[in-house]
């Protein structure tokens, strides 16, 4: 399973190990975490919900497209759902290739596409117990409108 989704802490080592390959000299791991920057307010946690079956299918389409773009690429994607406390990872992407530019390019492309296309939503939970739905600021539509 190259795309996984689930509750609980993300096992980053397992994701990175899964892309190890004797012929691949370069691996890139991206980790997105729940952050608490001044401009975000006092975020205590983010609750992620997802259309899980579609996350798996659309995620697999993203990875298949990545392998078409970077032949030989080995790639994994995990998205955590449920309540993710601040500081903890919510998404991880690992990619390995023969040479490093491709590993960087592929990992970045997959992360960008995942953010753009995966049906996942987040509800920020604040220190005072309040909560609000939050959209991605950089969200381009998953399909170009015609």
């Amino acid at each position: 399973m190259r795309v996984t989704i689930g509750e609980g802490p993300v096992d980053l080592s397992a994701i990175l190990d899964a892309v190890a390959d004797g012929a691949h000299g370069a691996a890139v791991l991206f980790v997105g975490s729940v952050r608490r920057a001044p401009e975000d307010g006092p975020v205590a946690a983010i609750e992620y919900t997802a259309y899980e079956a579609m996350v798996r299918e659309e995620g697999q389409r993203i990875l298949d497209e990545a392998v078409e773009r970077w032949p030989g690429l080995i790639v994994r994607l995990h998205h955590r759902v449920g309540v993710v406390p601040r500081g903890q990872p919510s998404i991880a992407v690992a990619a390995s290739t023969g040479h490093r530019p491709d590993a960087f390019d592929a990992a970045r492309w997959v992360v960008d596409e995942a953010k753009r296309r995966l049906p996942v939503w987040k509800r920020e939970q604040f220190d005072d117990g309040s909560a609000r739905w939050r959209e991605n600021a950089d969200g381009a539509p998953p399909l170009d409108t015609v």
Binding site: A50, Y51, M54, R116, P119, E135, G139, T145, V146
Partner: protein, 79 residues
């Protein structure tokens, strides 16, 4: 046809799915119009919501078929 709602849409409509009857040849756009008319609080859906049919993103002009799973997706926020 099963229509599913997620995130703030599910919250506003107060349910996660409804079953509606749609005429042959109806587009996603037609389904949106039908829902707004037939389902309480479905007015929260924008004119052109993100929609997935059978777990694939589609455009508003996409023609639906009996048995399709039509999902209404609030603005995405993964990552």
């Amino acid at each position: 046809m099963v229509c599913r709602f997620f995130g703030r849409y599910a919250e506003a409509i107060g349910r996660e799915a409804v079953t509606v009857r749609i005429p042959d040849g109806a587009s996603v756009r037609d389904v949106v119009a039908r829902l707004r008319e037939a389902v309480e609080d479905a007015s929260c859906l924008p004119d052109r919501p993100l929609v997935a049919v059978n777990r694939m993103h589609v455009l508003p002009k996409h023609v639906v078929q009996a048995g399709d799973e039509v999902a209404f997706l609030p603005p995405l926020a993964g990552g």
